[in-house]
Every structure is written in structure tokens, then in C-alpha cells.
């Protein structure tokens, strides 16, 4: 067969050299064509065989290109086989696929239905995200095709596109609605696939469709569809199930929407009485839907009865599904398990391992302190039988979790964990041993109990090591050696030498990996502190002192040094102090000198990870249509943005990198300011304090605005912009005048910082530069505190303000001049004081004389763009262009409006509005220019952590001059993280000029997405049991007063927007949720000056994040 194919190219080509009589030329041509045609037919045969060969496992890649050729050149039948072969041979990442694009495009435009069908099928099967744009318009067009089969295939192809590249299909959402209303039920059913995805991502965006879905389902259930759609006399089961799924998503946690669907659910439950698989399939979906939507008692009862049918069925398939539904249902109603107790017990010993496993899963969900021993025993039995890696990994995790939570006593706990380690072998996830060791080390509240537990563990491991010939998994050995090293001292009757001897034996075994050997060596090191007998020592040192493994070598050298110097040994390895905190110089301040030196030699300053990523992203941006500006003009602006975005002080580095070495030294100076105590996490706290102050400031200024009109507001406005102004000025000055000036400029605000923030420890660790910024922020409400230098800055900025504001003012007063008065004219000195009276009033202390001298033409031009941003801010506030929050937003808790980015034409403002169901980011786009702005589009780039229900694009075809338009974005957090950057860009066109792009960034914090979760104590209890991811942590908490707990909880409530469910004695329970609807439950216990917090959530990351937030708040309280 391969022979045939490799011979094909020669067969395919006509033989030009054939000698033919002139008379038979025509005949030869005809023969040639037919030969070619029959060759194609032959090729088709070959390809079919090739597909078969490949399925049998032979290499067939040599024929791929022929498949593509056939799809391209063949007539209908060949095309069909060609496409089939291509779709079977190639996958999305295959390079040859590029050759297919043209063929598919051609066929999509074909008038032949079959060709269009084939092209749609192959596009939906093969096309990778980057190729979708090529066919998308044509596929979209097919949504309006007259044949329903084409429409249906187009919808399904779009569904597939949505799966692999959701953002590319976003613009056709309204066409999906059309497909949903299609007169052909097949097209409608196909569109439901897309709707299921859309609704899963954003249930709130489609609540309005609930009624339509319910109506469709009613009609289907009522048998209104053509008989064609019946399957074994059940009307359109696939459609029914799809609708039930959609309704489930819509009705979840929503009583009003759920209300609409109760009837039809009831109807579905009733209708499905025929004893056939397909009716059971519908019932199964129904049960899930009933238990997911807002609960209704009688429906749930009916669903429970139905579920009984499944569980009691003799058919294994139904039994399996019944048990599965039960694991789902018990989250609402534990009693159902009791009804089926006996069946469950039977299923535990079922001959089919799958049914056994699903039963165990069910048992795992209902475990409590009473039944834990039995259930764990069953789980371990199953584990011993199972050979499957996936099963083992998931089950050992569950056993370990149950053992930790509900262990009745120490012996059982240690034995169970031993079994877990022994059975799990080396497949065991690394967090299980480390959790176990942490538990042993941290202990519980009872000192005696802890000792017993540890002693028991030591005893059991010694016993296990007694046995020869038994090989333990590496992780188990690691656990053993750690425990023996750490806690052997508790076992007074055994000499440490004996244990060392045992471990030494273990070291010699070849089955032990070098990682484990390192664990054992460090255990031996710890044991040597208990004894002076160093008999084994030389042997160990000899074998590992020269080991090829550097880790082992290091361990043995440590051992040698420590044994020689007992004093160090006792300080480095104190007894029973494994979980005491060791003071670590986290900021690595001892390296500061080195860093300074490196910077002095011209090394680039360090940038934190997120900033590097940000820069990388911005570099990846597509073509830049703007001409390149002067480097020092753009850099200050850019750096002021990053400086604002990232709380980490070092990120200011980007600015410095644009400058020269002196700047590097300045940076290293600020590095030295980092105190040893500085932990990066504290910045968050610092930010909050800042924002509070800012909020105060804004409050202050707002109230002033209402009482007093002109001068006061304007002054605050001017002062507040000084912070940015100053930074920009610093950079521009630096360029012009050299380093000395910069240093003195930076020096003064720093000293003022210390005055203001003296009481706060947090600031100690701050980078000097950021301190300067803080200082300015704090100064805002207190203008008298501004040092002299700041006055200067203010004056300068007032100048730019005036000159910049001028042309705009003119346009507002005299519109006839508009076309000639371009913003560029603001740069020259054509203004007269009388024209700008009002602006000058804004800066009563500013005198303009020095500046006309200082900024001769050249200088002025350079500095202008850098300053325009703040100058504009001021201008906007003066002329009333600055947006204010509309009523519907202002009623919610919100932050102050902030300027995101600005230039001479456009300004973007935003803030955060903490709505109950989302974080709303309004965006105000102000057109400052004197002309209309066209095609303005705001586009947000959402990271994986965030989601929104709506589109992230906001187009504004026309923005009138001197007006503000607004849009808003509702955000929810899908993947919890403590902070996330929301980036976006604004593109627009001025008159007919080219597109301009402005980028902006907002930092969003986890707290922005946390909302209180109102629960009763009982609901809390139910939910608590059903959640599996938990984190426990002790927070030290100084005041030991009786009301300390409640005050701590109320602080948490206030700072983190939590809901205190109940406070009972020394315990308190709190609930909150991460938007959209991930609950997080907290259980706090106050004991001896320590607040132990236990968090649970269905999401594995959320507890960690929340714990981090709690820690921050508690630290805040203590300070």
C-alpha cells in the first residue's frame, strides 16, 4: 500500500514525453484527463486505506499532504474523503493546516450545499484560534442561510469557536439570539449549546431569557414538536436536557427566577414515567436542577422519590447515577442518606469497583466524628485493591483529610496516616506529608496530648523500622526520619545512638533516593545533639562527605561542624522548636551593599515579577501607530503610572532605568532604607491607609465644594495634582540639570514624610521614593505643611495649567476660532493675564514672573507633555468638565474618582463601586479637545482571575467636544488572588487623523470582591460540613480582654466586609462570599491571646487569600 502511495506523484503527473501520433492527440488528451481523474479516484481509495492504516497504528504522515490536495482539487466525492482524511490526520496544531484555509474559504462560498456543509464541519473540527478570524465572517454569514442544515452547522461551528476562542465570537451575541428564535427547532437546539456556555459564565446576564427557556421546555414536554424529534417516543430528550441545564444555571441562588420554573420542573418530573434509559436521563437532570435552584419543598420531595427509583433499581447504571445524585443531594438534605442506608451498605461490597467508589465518595461526604473510623477503614480497603494512580491520589487525600479532621485518638490518627503513606506510596501528593508533619509540630492546645501523639508516632516508626526486608515509600521514610530526628528525645528509654544506628542502616540501602537520604542525614544531625557518643560519625562523614550529590555533601558538612561545636548546635537546633518562628532577613538587606555596587557599575535595577510581566505585555502590544516621542518626555509619565499601580516601592525602578547611573545610586539608597522587618505583604495595609486618607481628603474637598464655591476647591485640586507634578518635574529637572538637584529635590519631601508618618511602623520599610509620594498624599488636606520646594512646584504647575487651559477656554467662549486654535498653540506665549484671571486666582501664591524667564521656549516645549496630565486635571475641575458619579452609582459604597490617563485631548476617570453583586468600574471619558472625537473605543483586557457578564469593549462612535461620556464594567473574581491588575486601553480618532491609543491600569484587590454572606448558624453548619478546602492558622493577638474576640471580629467585619453569623463564648463564626458566589466560612477561636482562625471554602485558593487579608487586618489592629 505504501508503495502505491509513494508512486503516486509520478502517476499523477502526465507524461509529457510520450510520443503520440498527431491524429490521436485529442484522444491522448482525453485519455490523459481521464487518467488524471481516475488517478484521483485511485487517490481517494489510497487515502481511505491510509486512514485505516493509521488507525491501526502505522505511521502515515507522508500522506497528509495528499489528503489536503484531494480536499482542494477533488470533485465532490474526493473532497469528501479528502476532508475526512484531513480531519482525522491533522490536529489543531499541525502546520499543514495553513494550506487548508484557502480551500475551506472557497468551499464556504460555494453554491453547493454539500461543499458548504463539509467546509463548516472541518472548520469546526480543526481550526485553531489564530485561524478563526479567516473564516469567521463567512461562517457568520451562514447564520442567515436559507437552508436550516447550514444554519445549524454554522451555529455549531460558532459554538466550537466560542469554546476555543471566546473573545473572537463576542460581537455576534445578538445573532445568537436570532438563532435561538429560529423557526427550525434544530437550529434553536444548536444555539442552546452556546447559551449554556454563555450562561455558565454569566448567569446574571441572561435572566431575561428564563421565560423563553421555560416556554420552550413546556412546549417540548407537552409534545408540541414534530414527531421527527422524538426518540423512543420521548419528545426531543437532548433538547429537554439542555434546557434543564440552562435553567439550573439561571435559577441557582435566585428565588425569583426559580419561581418561574417550578411548574415546568414539576411537569417534567411527572411526564417521565416510561421505563426507558432516556426518561431516566431526563429525570437525572431534573433532580439535579431541582436541588440546585432555590429550594421548593414539594418539588424536592418528588425529586427525592425519583432518586429512590434510581438507587433501588437493579440496573447498575441507574444505581450508579442514583448514588451520584445522592452525593449531590445531601448537600441540601442529609436525611435522604438515612432512607437509603441499607442500599448504600450493600453497594459498599458491590462487585463493580465503580459503584463501590461512588459509594465511598458518598460516605466521604457524610463523615463525622462518630463514623470516621469505619469510613476510613472502607476507604483504605478500597485503596489497597485499587491500582489506578488517579484513584489513589484522590483517595489518599480524602483519607488524610478525614483523619486530620475527625481523628478520635492519637493512636488511630498515627496508624491511619501510616497506612496512607504506605498505600499511597510515592504517588502521594506532597502536601499530605507536610500537612501531617505540620500538625505534629504545631500540636493542639494540650501540651500533654501533643507529647503523647509525638511519642506514639516515634514508637510506631521505630517499630516499623525494626522490620527488615520491608521497603517503605520514599515519602514515608522522609516523614519517619523527620519525626525521629525531631521527637526522639521524648522516648527516654531508647538511647539516641540506637536510633542513629537504625537511620544509618537505612542510609546504606540502595532503594533509598538521595532526597530521602538528605532527610535522614538531617535527622541524624538532630539526634547527635542528644548524645556525645559519636561512634558512627566518621563513617557517615566518610561516605557522604565526598558524595557527588551536593545536597548530601552539604548535609554531612553541617553535621560535622555542628557536632564539633555544641554551642552552635544548641542554638541552631533547639529541642521541640520546629514551629517557632525564625527571624529571617526577608528583604535580604545584607545584600544592599552588593546591590548598590552592581547598580553603580551600571546594572539594571531589580523589577518585581509583576512589573516585568506588565512590561512584557506592553511590549507585546501590536503595531504602534504613533511616532516615537522623546524618551525623557514619556518616561516620567510612564513611571508615575507604574508608581501608582504597584504598591511595591521598588517598582519605581522603571523610571530610573531610563536615566543614568546616578539614578541607580539613588535607587540603591532607597533600598538601604528597607528595614529587616519589612514583609512585602504589609504594603497592602499601607495602601489602605493611604486610600483612607485620600478618601478623607476627597470628603473634605467635596464638602468644601458644596459650601464654598471657587477658590478653596481649586486650591485643593491644584495641591492634589502636585504629587504627580512633582514626580514628573523631578525627572524632567533631572534631565536638564543633573543629579544634584534631583537629590535635593527628593531629600526634602522625605524629611517631611517622617514627620507625618512617625507613628506608623509600616512606613519604615518603604522605599524613599514612595515615601515622597505618601508625603504628598498626606499633605493634601493640609496645604500649610508643604515645604518651600513644593510651593515652587505648585507655581510651576500653575503655569502649565494656564497656558494649557487657554486655548480650551477660548473655544468655550468663542467657538468661531475653533478650527484655528489647535492645542499646539497653547505652547506659545500668546496668553494675556487678563484672559486667565480665574486660573490665576486658583493659585493665589503663584507669581508668574520667574517662569517666563526660567522656561525659555525650548525647555517649555519639552516639559509640556509631561505636565499636561495634571494640568488638565486642574483644568477640568475648573471648567466643570470633570465627571461626577451619577446618582445610581453614588448610592453604593464607592471610592473617589481618579484620573486614569490623560492627554491634551482626552481624559479617563474611574473609581470603584462596591455593588452587592459585582465590582462596578465606571469609566468616564472626557473629550477635552475642541473637536469631536471619533470611533473612541475602550477595551478592557481581563486576566483569568476576573470575569464580566458583558462585553469588555465599549465603543463610542462620536464624543462631542467638551463633553463626557461614560460606560461601566461589572466585574467578578473567578480565581481568587490578593490583587489583580485590570488593564485596558482607549483608542480614538481625532478628526480624520490616525488612531491614538491610551493605556490605563487599575489595581483591584481581593477585598473589592468580598461581600458579606448572610447565613443563619444552622445554614453555616450545613455549609461548613459540605466544604472541603480548609486552612487553619493561629494569629497572635495581644489584648487578652474578655471582649477582645468580639472587637477583633468586628474589626474583621468592618475591614473585610464580612458577616458575623454568631459569637458564642470564645468562638465566633463569620461568613463571606467572593463574587460571584464562592462562599468562604471562618471559624475563629480566641484562646490565651491567640486567635485561631479556621477557614473553609469550596475554592482551594480562597481560604489562603482570606487568611492573608485577616492577618493584615489583625496586624493593623495591633499597631
Amino acid at each position: 500500500m505504501e508503495k502505491t502511495l509513494s508512486a503516486l506523484p509520478s502517476l499523477l503527473s502526465l507524461e509529457p514525453g510520450a510520443k503520440l501520433a498527431a491524429a490521436s492527440r485529442l484522444g491522448a488528451l482525453v485519455r490523459g484527463i481521464t487518467e488524471l481523474a481516475s488517478k484521483q479516484k485511485q487517490m481517494r481509495e489510497c487515502l481511505v486505506r491510509l486512514i485505516y492504516c493509521e488507525m491501526l497504528g502505522y505511521e502515515a504522515s507522508f500522506g497528509y499532504i495528499h489528503a489536503i490536495k484531494l480536499a482542494q482539487q477533488g470533485s465532490l466525492m474526493e473532497k469528501r474523503v479528502g476532508y475526512l482524511a484531513v480531519s482525522l490526520f491533522l490536529n489543531e496544531s499541525h502546520q499543514l493546516l495553513l494550506l487548508l484555509v484557502n480551500t475551506v474559504l472557497k468551499d464556504l462560498q460555494s453554491t453547493n450545499l454539500l461543499e458548504v456543509c463539509m467546509a463548516l464541519t472541518v472548520a469546526s473540527q480543526l481550526f485553531p484560534p489564530e485561524m478563526i478570524p479567516a473564516v469567521l465572517p463567512l461562517v457568520e454569514e451562514k447564520l442567515q442561510h436559507s437552508k436550516e442544515i447550514i444554519r445549524r452547522k454554522a451555529v455549531l461551528a460558532l459554538h466550537k469557536f466560542y469554546l476555543i476562542a471566546p473573545n473572537q465570537v463576542q460581537h455576534i451575541h445578538d445573532k445568537f439570539r436570532k438563532a435561538l428564535c429560529d423557526r427550525d427547532p434544530g437550529v434553536m437546539a444548536a444555539s442552546l449549546h452556546i447559551y449554556l456556555l454563555l450562561i455558565k459564565e454569566n448567569p446574571d446576564g441572561y435572566k431575561d431569557l428564563t421565560g423563553s427557556f421555560v416556554t420552550i421546555l413546556k412546549q417540548v414536554v407537552g409534545g408540541k414538536l414534530a414527531v421527527d424529534f422524538n426518540y423512543h417516543s420521548v419528545p426531543a430528550p437532548w433538547l429537554q436536557i439542555q434546557l434543564l441545564r440552562i435553567l439550573r444555571l439561571l435559577g441557582k441562588d435566585d428565588p425569583v427566577t426559580s419561581e418561574q420554573m417550578y411548574d415546568v420542573l414539576d411537569e417534567s418530573l411527572r411526564r417521565a414515567e416510561i421505563n426507558h434509559n432516556i426518561t431516566y436521563a431526563i429525570l437525572f437532570e431534573c433532580i439535579q436542577t431541582v436541588y440546585t435552584v432555590h429550594p421548593k419543598a414539594d418539588l424536592m420531595e418528588k425529586a427525592a422519590t425519583c432518586n429512590g427509583k434510581f438507587i433501588l433499581s437493579p440496573k447498575n447504571n441507574l444505581k450508579y447515577l442514583g448514588l451520584k445524585a445522592l452525593t449531590y443531594v445531601i448537600q441540601q438534605d442529609l436525611n435522604l442518606v438515612l432512607q437509603h442506608q441499607m442500599t448504600i451498605i450493600e453497594c459498599l461490597d458491590h462487585s463493580d469497583p465503580i459503584i463501590k467508589r461512588v459509594t465511598l465518595e458518598l460516605l466521604y461526604r457524610i463523615t463525622n466524628a462518630q463514623n470516621v473510623t469505619v469510613i476510613v477503614q472502607k476507604l483504605l480497603e478500597y485503596l489497597r485493591e485499587s491500582k489506578d494512580e488517579y484513584v489513589t491520589i484522590s483517595l489518599v487525600g480524602k483519607v488524610a483529610e478525614l483523619a486530620e479532621k475527625y481523628a478520635p485518638n492519637n493512636e488511630w490518627f498515627v496508624q491511619t496516616m501510616n497506612a496512607v503513606f504506605a498505600v499511597g506510596g510515592d504517588m502521594i501528593p506532597s502536601d499530605i506529608p507536610s500537612n501531617f508533619l505540620r500538625l505534629l509540630a504545631e500540636g493542639f492546645d494540650d501540651e500533654v496530648e501533643d507529647k503523647q501523639l509525638r511519642l506514639y508516632a516515634v514508637n510506631s516508626y521505630l517499630a516499623l523500622l525494626e522490620k527488615d526486608q520491608v521497603q517503605y515509600p520514599q515519602r514515608f521514610l522522609q516523614v519517619m526520619s523527620w519525626v525521629l530526628g525531631e521527637y526522639s528525645y521524648l522516648k527516654t528509654e531508647t538511647k539516641p545512638e540506637d536510633i542513629i544506628e537504625k537511620l544509618h542502616c537505612l542510609l546504606g540501602k540502595c532503594s533509598v533516593s538521595s532526597e530521602t537520604k538528605a532527610w535522614i542525614l538531617s535527622a541524624i544531625t538532630k539526634l547527635f545533639r542528644l548524645t556525645l557518643n559519636v561512634k558512627v560519625l566518621p563513617e557517615v562523614l566518610q561516605s557522604y562527605g565526598n558524595s557527588m550529590d551536593s545536597c548530601l555533601r552539604q548535609c554531612s558538612f553541617e553535621l560535622k561542624q555542628l557536632v564539633e561545636n555544641r554551642e552552635i548546635m544548641n542554638t541552631v537546633l533547639p529541642l521541640d522548636a520546629s514551629c517557632d518562628d525564625i527571624v529571617v532577613d526577608a528583604s535580604l538587606s545584607f545584600l544592599d551593599g552588593f546591590v548598590a555596587e552592581a547598580l553603580g557599575h551600571g546594572a539594571a535595577p531589580y523589577k518585581p515579577h509583576h512589573q516585568r510581566q506588565e512590561e512584557k505585555l506592553s511590549q507585546e502590544k501590536v503595531l504602534n501607530f504613533e511616532p516615537y516621542g522623546l524618551a525623557f518626555v514619556t518616561s516620567p509619565q510612564a513611571s508615575s503610572v507604574t508608581g501608582r499601580q504597584s504598591p511595591a516601592g521598588l517598582s519605581i525602578g522603571s523610571e530610573i532605568s531610563c536615566n543614568s547611573t546616578e539614578a541607580g545610586i539613588k535607587d540603591s539608597n532607597s533600598l538601604k532604607l528597607d528595614g529587616v522587618k519589612k514583609v512585602w505583604g504589609k504594603e497592602g495595609y499601607l495602601r489602605k491607609r493611604e486610600s483612607k486618607v485620600e478618601a478623607l481628603a476627597s470628603l473634605g474637598s467635596e464638602s468644601e465644594t458644596t459650601t464654598d464655591t471657587s477658590s478653596k476647591t481649586e486650591r485643593t485640586a491644584t495641591v492634589s495634582e502636585e504629587e504627580q507634578e512633582k514626580q514628573q518635574l523631578a525627572s524632567s529637572l533631572f534631565v536638564g540639570l543633573g543629579s544634584n538637584n534631583l537629590v535635593s529635590l527628593m531629600g526634602k519631601p522625605q524629611s517631611s514624610t517622617q514627620k507625618v508618618w512617625r507613628k506608623s511602623k509600616i512606613v519604615e520599610g518603604q522605599n524613599g521614593h514612595e515615601k515622597a509620594m505618601n508625603a504628598q498624599k498626606t499633605i493634601v488636606p493640609h496645604p500649610p505643611q508643604i515645604p518651600n520646594l513644593m510651593d515652587n512646584v505648585g507655581e510651576r504647575c500653575s503655569l502649565f495649567q494656564e497656558s494649557k487651559a487657554m486655548p480650551l477656554r477660548k473655544t468655550s467662549s468663542d467657538s468661531a476660532e475653533v478650527p484655528t486654535e489647535q492645542p499646539a498653540q497653547g505652547y506659545d506665549r500668546s496668553w494675556t493675564p487678563s484672559n486667565n484671571l480665574k486660573t490665576i486666582k486658583a493659585m493665589p501664591s503663584a507669581s508668574k514672573e520667574p517662569f517666563s524667564g526660567l522656561f525659555a521656549d525650548g525647555n517649555f516645549d519639552i516639559i509640556q507633555p509631561a505636565n499636561c496630565r495634571s494640568a488638565f486635571e486642574a483644568h477640568d475641575q475648573i471648567s466643570g468638565l470633570a465627571p461626577s458619579l451619577p446618582e445610581e452609582f453614588a448610592q453604593h459604597a464607592h471610592s473617589k474618582l481618579e484620573l486614569l490617563c490623560a492627554n491634551e485631548n482626552i481624559a479617563l476617570f474611574s473609581c470603584k463601586i462596591w455593588k452587592e453583586d459585582c465590582l462596578l468600574i465606571p469609566l468616564f471619558i472626557t473629550n477635552r479637545s475642541s473637536v469631536e472625537v471619533h470611533n473612541a473605543t475602550v477595551n478592557f483586557a481581563l486576566t483569568d482571575e476576573l470575569q464580566t457578564s458583558e462585553s469588555t469593549d465599549f465603543p463610542f462612535p462620536v464624543v462631542q467636544s467638551q463633553t463626557t461620556v461614560k460606560c461601566h464594567l461589572c466585574l467578578q473574581m473567578v480565581n481568587p488572588c490578593t490583587q489583580v491588575l485590570l488593564t485596558g486601553h482607549l483608542t480614538y480618532q481625532l478628526e480624520s487623523s490616525h488612531c491614538t491609543q491610551e493605556e490605563f491600569t487599575l489595581i483591584l484587590f481581593l477585598i473589592d470582591f468580598i461581600r458579606p454572606l448572610k447565613l443563619t448558624t444552622e445554614e453555616f453548619g450545613h455549609l461548613w460540613l459540605s466544604l472541603s478546602n480548609d486552612v487553619k492558622q493561629n494569629l497572635s493577638f495581644a489584648p487578652n480582654a474578655p471582649e477582645a474576640l468580639s472587637s477583633a471580629l468586628h474589626t474583621l467585619q468592618k475591614e473585610l466586609k464580612l458577616h458575623i453569623v454568631d459569637i458564642i463564648g470564645t468562638e465566633g463564626i463569620i461568613a463571606c462570599q467572593l463574587l460571584p458566589s464562592t462562599p468562604c466560612l471562618l471559624h475563629c477561636r480566641f484562646h490565651g491571646g491567640i486567635l485561631s482562625v479556621w477557614l473553609r471554602s469550596p475554592c482551594s485558593v480562597l481560604p489562603d487569600c482570606m487568611l492573608y487579608e485577616c492577618q493584615k487586618v489583625m496586624q493593623n489592629v495591633q499597631l
Binding site: G57, T121, G186, P237
Partner: protein
Amino acid sequence: MRFMLLFSRQGKLRLQKWYTAVSEKEKKKLGRELMQIVLGRKPKMCSFLEWKDLKIVYKRYASLYFCCAIEDQDNELLTLELIHRYVELLDKYFGSVCELDIIFNFEKAYFILDEFLMGGEIQDTSKKNVLKAIEQADLMQEDDESPRSVLEEMGLA
């Protein structure tokens, strides 16, 4: 749906359709392992499996096993019926289908599958419609072929 496999009781693959991008090597490995597991199960056992991170639904028709890997949220019973519907379609098309039909006309089996499922989602639940589409294509194909045979005759003549 992630993929669909048809294989014989002897563990010979008869048809495979992958709806997600998987490398050739991985396909072979998954197929081999899955066949081993499915063939190792007893007749009365449950048709559903949880294997790796997949849900597997399989059913045996005579000497052929039909095996689907589905997403976590998919309905197992419905998938079982989907397999059944596919078998019905094959049966109707070939007229009481047997393993040999699929071996010799496996491209037809693929065509039917492509008409029935698209991108792993069911496309047409109506048996009549699917077969109509297939027959139409077959018919067109014959139309397409007939002029060629005339030419062929001419060439030979």
C-alpha cells in the same frame, strides 16, 4: 464530548474520533489503556467509568464496543442513548449493520458520525434528517461520478 472510539472484542480499533486536540502518541496511549480497562469489565457491570480525569461511557453491541469520553457535566445516560442512536443510524444505513460493514465502509461510518455529531455536540437528533443528509451526499456523489465514466469510455474508445 472528548472522543469516541469503536473497537472490537479483540482490542482492534475500528473507528476513532477526537474532538479535542491530542497528539498522536497520546491518542495511542489513551486508546490502548482504555481498551484494556473496558475489555476487562464484566458484562453486567455498570457502563460508566471514572478514568483519569475523564468520564467514560461504553456499550457493547455484538462484538463491537462503542466508547465515549465525556465532560464532567455531561449526562452519562444520555451519552449511552447517543451511542444507541448512532448504532441505529448505522443499522438503518447499512441494513442490519455488522462489524464487517464498518471495517469495509468505515469512511461511511465517519460520514454518518460527522452528520450526527459536530464538535462533540449532538447536531441532529432526528434519525430521518441525518440519513437524508447522508443519502443526499451519496446521491450527489454518484451524479458526480457518472459523467466521468462516460469520459472514461470515450477515452478507451
